[in-house]
């Protein structure tokens, strides 16, 4: 087991005017205030969320009924977590005051024994811990923990941390192998990874033990969910795989069930594998990783190809028009990839992380930060999607909010913490996983070294680093060579050096001096990408990718009936940067054929009567930017000559 240390808030600073810093700024200036208004039911353009209201009712400050989902608290928890990350890198007194107030409210809502879940406090106080499978109490607790830890790390203030420590102490009285406790685990995983964070924040090993208990117990026989259902006389069929509870986690070899649940579980498994040097958990993670990323992942990094149970299906079943690919699932894949990356030095994790971040995650939020997709299909035909029952989950326009609003605050907390995903280090040096203008600082050879990174990534693959340090020192700088790269070049102080790539990382090991320049050149071309031949949905089709960005075609640029497009063999791709177009998001143009037969042709006709075609230029925009203009058809996979 290689083990790296991820660089956190203290180590990394994003620089302004880069791809990610612009999005972090959007989260800070627009998304957090917008979501706060929604949590408080004061945003005129979105339906009420009831989240803060529920909490005030739970604190007995107002009268009223609980409203919203059983996991409504988690929306606030994720928002608080995002606030923590934002404050960590960009202090803001007013935002901190607002957060302190809501933490005070959480404290007032918490019951004397530590219990804290507004749904059960307000609506079903007698039903606490009676349906851990469906009712999300542990899930909400997990998000509260993550929020509290992030806020503590950012501000040093312990109040939120104390709240969740009391909550976990209460949970410990309810769950465990001891007589009288529930030998159970949550239906929706989340608290497992949160408890690892709480352990890291507090150093208290009991949190790691409780996480480990939840993980080890899952899927054991007799099955907890079966016993729990029998206890409450619930005869309904339940698919244990939906919650990854069909077999013990170490025996799971294929990704099954609800894809977000799976990602949170696998993330916790990776955390525990690292913390406990648990090789059997790590082996399970690796098998599951291969199954997800080699058999069940869309080119966007989206996962979960079935709306039913929001689930994984079978290998290579990746329909584009009915992809569920929940934003949260792509986010969960980033969480998992990042954790794997701290254990195994393998660029595959970074490649998947990058693929998901730039495509299937970012597609979930509009460019103004106020509209969202929960479901991220790779092909949308509005007339059909708005009509067919088996496409009911596909929304053809972005939504201001959702009844089940897990995704919007999830994307906020990920973007607010994006600086944590860029670098790792170990005794030998630094790892650069993602490219974005930033500064990384760490201690090596008894001194503080700064690596400053500068580029126009992901639009340009020329990346420049400068080493800043007081005195010369030897260490390794390991640069991820993305999987999409055909030929990478590296220069040190302007001189090309041999590029030795191992496990996807090019290592430049040398005696570094202050001011040394390191350049990584990853030439970006518009690539035609094909899918494995067993992916039937993409047979005969290609996706256009440039650097890490997957492109799509939209009706607003190319007219209707996008399935009619056939890319030419001579693609003649051009890359365009136009500040006036789509808020400056670069686009590409390519040469293609389209049918010239008029629309009133017969429904079926001989091939030789239908081969007329006209030459045309097609505009493709980054997938993440789709549906930021007029709604209409969208398509990632296109036919090609």
């Amino acid at each position: 087991m290689d083990k790296l240390k991820a660089m956190g808030d203290a180590n990394v600073t994003l620089q302004d005017s880069s791809f990610w810093s612009e999005r972090v700024q959007l989260v800070r200036e627009t998304v957090l205030p917008y979501q706060w208004r929604i949590l408080n039911d004061t945003e005129p353009d979105a339906p009420p969320s009831f989240t803060i209201r529920n909490l005030r009712i739970a604190a007995k400050e107002i009268d009223g009924e609980f409203n919203g989902m059983v996991f409504q608290d988690s929306d606030l928890a994720k928002w608080l977590e995002a606030v923590g990350y934002s404050l960590a890198t960009h202090p803001d007194k007013e935002l901190e005051r607002v957060a302190d107030e809501v933490i005070d409210l959480l404290e007032r809502a918490q019951e004397p024994n530590g219990y804290l879940d507004t749904y059960f406090i307000v609506k079903e106080p007698d039903k606490k811990w009676t349906n851990v499978r469906d009712w999300h109490e542990l899930y909400c607790a997990g998000h509260l923990i993550e929020g509290a830890v992030a806020y503590f790390e950012a501000t040093g203030k312990r109040k939120a941390l104390d709240i969740v420590c009391r909550l976990v102490t209460h949970i410990s009285t309810k769950f465990g192998p001891e007589p009288g406790k529930l030998m159970g685990y949550p239906g929706h995983e989340e608290i497992e990874l949160a408890l690892v964070k709480l352990y890291r924040a507090t150093g208290d090993y009991k949190y790691l033990e409780l996480s480990s208990y939840f993980i080890d117990e899952r899927g054991q026989e007799p099955n907890f969910f079966r016993m729990e259902a029998e206890a409450r006389k619930d005869p309904r069929h339940y698919n244990f795989a939906y919650s990854q509870a069909h077999v013990p986690v170490r025996e799971q070899e294929t990704a099954e069930g609800h894809s977000v649940r799976a990602m949170y579980l696998y993330s916790a498994m990776a955390d525990l594998a690292k913390e406990l040097d648990d090789d059997s958990l790590l082996q399970a993670c690796r098998k599951l990783w291969n199954n997800v990323t080699q058999k069940k992942m869309y080119i966007t990094g989206g996962i979960g190809s079935s709306a039913y149970e929001e689930a994984f299906t079978v290998d290579y079943d990746l329909p584009n028009d009915r992809a569920y690919t929940e934003t949260c699932a792509a986010i969960g894949l980033v969480f998992w990839a990042h954790r794997m990356l701290q254990i195994d030095v393998n660029a595959d994790y970074g490649d998947v992380m990058e693929r998901a971040l730039y495509n299937g995650v970012l597609s979930g939020m509009s460019m103004d930060g106020k509209k969202y997709f929960y479901v991220n299909p790779l092909e949308v035909w509005p007339t059909t999607a708005n009509h067919r029952h088996d496409m009911a989950s596909v929304k053809t326009t972005r939504q201001s909010w959702f009844g089940c609003a897990c995704c919007p605050p999830n994307i906020a907390r990920l973007l607010a913490s994006i600086h944590r995903y860029l670098y790792s280090y170990d005794d030998e040096g630094i790892y650069v996983h993602l490219y974005s203008n930033s500064e990384a600082r760490w201690e090596t050879s008894g001194q503080r070294v700064t690596l400053a990174q500068q580029s126009q990534y992901p639009w340009d693959g020329h990346i420049q680093f400068e080493v800043q340090m007081e005195r010369p020192a030897e260490f390794a700088t390991r640069l991820r060579i993305p999987g999409w790269t055909r030929e990478a070049q590296i220069r040190v102080n302007g001189h090309p050096i041999a590029v030795n790539v191992e496990n996807g990382y090019a290592t430049v090991q040398r005696q570094w001096n202050n001011g040394d320049q390191l350049e990584l050149i990853l030439p970006m071309h518009v690539e035609r990408v094909v899918a494995n031949k067993f992916v039937r949905a993409n047979a005969g089709k290609v996706a256009l990718q440039r650097g890490p960005i997957v492109y799509c075609v939209e009706e607003v640029d190319n007219g209707t009936n996008l399935s009619d497009i056939v890319l030419k063999k001579q693609l003649e791709p051009e890359f365009h940067v136009d500040k006036e177009f789509l808020q400056g998001v670069p686009y590409i143009t390519v040469q293609a054929w389209r049918s010239s037969l008029n629309s009133d042709q017969n429904l079926y006709l001989p091939f030789d009567e239908a081969t007329e075609r006209v030459s045309t230029e097609i505009r493709a925009v980054p997938y993440f930017s789709w549906c930021n203009r007029e709604p209409g058809e969208m398509c990632v996979w296109l036919r090609t000559e």
Copy 2:
């Protein structure tokens, strides 16, 4: 309005050893006995149907509970109808005795006021006529009428006819514009077309009037289904279009809702248009016909592309892997096409009728007559279809029977009456709609003329006719030139004549002499057929068709991953007849490419690394014959160079 007379039992005899006569024989010798055993719960290889048992309980001859669907009676009614057609062309004392006995049983079950529906007699006697929308009483009555009429026409025996006349008299006391009656119509259309048959069989105009009432009332405001639901305090949402009750029938321009219901409605509309010279009904039929056949029909003649509500969706939405395409819907399309053909002389109706018969209808029954498909998709991937929730309706193997068993007896009654679909006549001569070894007899110029037809159709397009008559007479022989034909030739007594095609029919008008030979030559080639460019599911793909037969590829012949096949530009098709293969069903071979990359290639890879391919020969079998060997993948639409 042109009006033709369809030639019926007395006019047409199928000859042995032809495509259709073999299937009629299968129905007579295997299907009818098999289905009779199922109706009696004595078939060991199928689940019990309870149909006869319900009837005996209703007749108070045994005790017990009702079992099965609310429309269980209709399975028997359709079987009785099939028996009628079979007896009409092939008398069988034993079968007639069995049918007489079951008709006696029906009579004993009928209530004194004429009411007859075992579900309500046995299970819910107080709920009669309280939910005409959902509970199929009028639907079952319609099928009983069709069965009784067919049996009466075959045997001259009136008992069944009297039973349904009493039933309809009872229905007339319940439905109509008079005070105290329900101003309603059935949720599932069927009785409307049955009443026209009853009118034709009895000459009693009141049956036509009742049919007309049901048709004219449908979709009027205030909506009957809304009022009926309010009366029984049923607040559930109901989609009126599901039952074609969203607007009055003459205002319906697009096919909506449940596709079988729609076909039965449109068939009745065509019947009434003809009987009543109702041009507004005919115009509605023509508009709906164009919508169905030019926007919403699969190449197999299958219709209804959504499992949800078993319904039509939007124009050009024809997914192959989730096609619902119920066997009954294709059968209903044949019913409707045949009726339109007696009004408008237009080969388009015959083309669609032929397309559905040879493909989407026949696919519904195994070649041994004992296994069925309810749903007939054009592409099946078992691993996916058996897993995905949105493909739950797709069965990947043929079934011995169904809980809702509408399709098996429906295909039996259509095949047993197939001779009725071949010919029509009018004052000027005869129309040949379908090609199959047969004899047509009719009166013209004061004498009986016989047209004897001989061919190996649908495998060979050379069709020979001989005219048999006592003395010369002039009349027109009008031959449908199928839409798939590229160049038809006609010879009279060996001499080619000019082929003048009008509305799809070639007319040979002359003085005919006894023994005159007429030859129609329709050269059959393997054609690549493409779909309209708006059919996204088929973009870049072709279907192979030869004559009227649509072909498919199966895993048993071509290995797995059929979506990997790319037909070569140089197709080099060969047509094979091999008595040892697939019970002698001819097949074709074509040249194709397949991917040579092994299966462990990456999930996504550059186009230029994935272009290796190998040349191969592909075997394609008629779509109707698929899944008569080992189950596996199947695919109609294939990629092509």
